[in-house]
Amino acid sequence: MRLIVFLVPRLVIAAITMFGVALLVFVALRLLPGGYAEVLLGPFATPEARAIIGAKYGLDQPIAVQFVKWLGALLQGDFGVSMVNRRPVIEEFVRRAPVTAELATLTLALALAIGLPLGVSSALAASHGRRGRLGRLVGALGASVPEFVLGSALIFVFSSWSLGLKVGGFVPLAQDPWANLRSVVLPTASLSVFGIALILRTTRDAVLRVLTEGHILAAVARGETPWRIVRHHVLRNAAIPVVTVTATYFGFLLGGAVIAEILFSIPGVGYYIYSSLEGRDYAVVQAGVLLASFAFVSLNMLADVAYALIDPRIGATRRRP
């Protein structure tokens, strides 16, 4: 019962959010200057040619009618077909989703593996000069180096000296795990730098905040060892903002890392959505954004659950009438 009370409002909000996203994207796409007919026909888009393509793909109907038809089909599990190749777009997302999920998971794992300990260590050493400044420097650098700059630099270096890694040429995990690893190291590295900085800075700030609280002073007064204080009193209390940014960052990664996918020829959902947006392949963009928002909303719900597990007071507060 508690689970239902906890989940139902969130599910309702999630459904409303996703409907809003779907409506917004549908309308925004059609308000964009230039349509599929123009992209397809290039500069040869005569009014007659545009009209024929519009009629063929139902683009000549009012936006409201198009939206209702699309939504009706969606509720029956039909995400539509690509205008470019007339194939169901969901097939392409199913094919690409594991690639994006792998890249996102590895990137997040790397960001957590480096960002978390560096963040904690930087906060603990905040008053010790060098280590504290190093943490701040890494955080600032990571957050300010654009992904395309780092990615381009990696391509330049590793296309000249491969060093056992592959610049592009993604190999699916199921096909050859070792080759897969070689092909995802560079995109993961270029993507995770921002994540490392984000998690490092968030962790650092959260730990610094907890360190100033009274129960830490009490623990020190009780003579607890520094490691025990960190493990039992600091990490858990500092975890909530870290969980929040981790969920948000993971959601962002699952939505597709367009630049890394373009630079390293990774067949993920990001480039597919982006290039379909450029080509005004409406069904792909609509489905892509909807699926990305689904991932985002789901992760936020998971984060909500995680808050309650980390800090039981949160669940208790929310259960109160």
């Binding site: 230039g34 349509g35 123009e38 393509i53 491969s162 480039y271 597919y272």
Partner: protein, 542 residues
Amino acid sequence: MSISLSSRLRRFGAVMVVAGVAALGSTFEAHAQKALNWGVGADVDSMDVHVAGTVASWSMYEMVYETLLTTDRNMVLRPGLAESWKQTSPTTYQLNLRKDAKWSNGRPVVAADVIGSIERITGAEMNPAGVAAAKTDEEKKKASNKISSYWSRQFGVIKALAASDDHTVKVELAKPHTAFLPALAHITASIIPIKEFKDGSFDPTRQLLGSGPFMVGAYKPKESWTLVRNPHYWRKGYPKVDTLNVLVIPDEAARVAALRDGRIDYSTFANPDIGRLVAGDAKLAVTPQITTNYFRMDINALAEKSAFRDKRVRQALNLAIDRDALASIVFAGAAKPDYPVPGAFGKAACKDVDTYKLPRAARLDKARALLAAAGKPSVDVELIASTGDPIFARIAQVVQQNAKQVGFNIKIQQTPVAEYLNKVFTKGEFDAALSWLAGYSDPSMVIAWWNPKFAVWNTVFHEYSQPLADALEKVKGAPEGAERDAQLVEVCRMIDDGANILALVSKVDFIVHRTDTMEIKLDPVSGSSNTYQYVAEFVSKR
């Protein structure tokens, strides 16, 4: 029952031997399979060969489809699916099809395929029975198999199409149209399998099914194509490779990296810096290919607020552009100033107009005088350089500096491709925009676009001139020769006077290939965007 250790070892040994032999066999088989890897910057925009108007799509179709005719490096027509042809009168043609040409499903290519394909391109309803049976407008729309191909106008007006037999097609035009045969050489005029189209087993909007060297083995949208040898291809012993893997790699630097590490064997680049980028790699060779295509600037002569409504202002901008500077600064000397009648045709048609003939200083003086006469010594202009090709922005910067010398203040707008197409060709809401024109394989085909009533796509920004339209019609009907060349000179003069679409510099393609993994065959000049027309002859050294 117990098995001794030695017996187990013997069995294990036998299994290993069998496995080893099998592995060796598969290795030999794998070695027998020859493959090439082609890197492309973009995927197709549609599967429909008769509709798509982008080079990325055309290049892919050329691997699978064939045209009746093709052109060589001298723009001379060569056999394609038609092994011979003759013009039987000023308005009639006979095309004799290859008897050994087959679709990749094994069915012979016949005259009905040619007639049906041309009818489809020219806008005939390909499902008249279905449309007639439909009751509502909505059903009629769904049943209709009619398309609107921009290429139909390049055929002239077709009066009748008939098949004398399965391999002979007779075409009658309403009036003489010299570019009819060259129009058959462009990939948009591909022949598709009409029988399969009509019986529903082939849908040209979803599939590629042709008679060319390759057929589609697998397709991953915006990622890759696996093209496999068409076993029924009429050129015996071709293609030389069994598989052509096409990898979509949008980023230029990533494509260079793929060439370096051997993931792809060849690719086309528009960036003239490519030679410098790959200079350090001895395995990579760069081949510039001159085309009949050229960069151009569209000027809006029709927008109410545009300063370019005054012809003198357009002429001033045309005179102010330094095409030599464009060729040397943007293209490092690889391109040349180009003309409405492309220089690659080797005709001197447009060289004698002031835009090209006068020295730079005199052109600038004339441009200033024109602006003064128009009462506009200073003109603010927005120049659209779409993000479709990074070269546009570079051209825009040089033009900006050139034009400033006579009083134009150009503001460069970089817009996404779809927005550019919408602003320029649909709404006509722009001052000037950069693009390029395909020159095809006959001069009359490209200059035909200067008649907006013929072109249609530029009606929102191009002034209509009856004398120019008449002159263009004359050229279309005139046979090759001195008289036609003289007509082209007159047309060039009129085009230059109107200054509505400005030819800038030639468009050169740069093909990079790995010399250690493949042998490539390319023409130094290409007429119909058919860069890889000899793909069947490409050899893999792997």
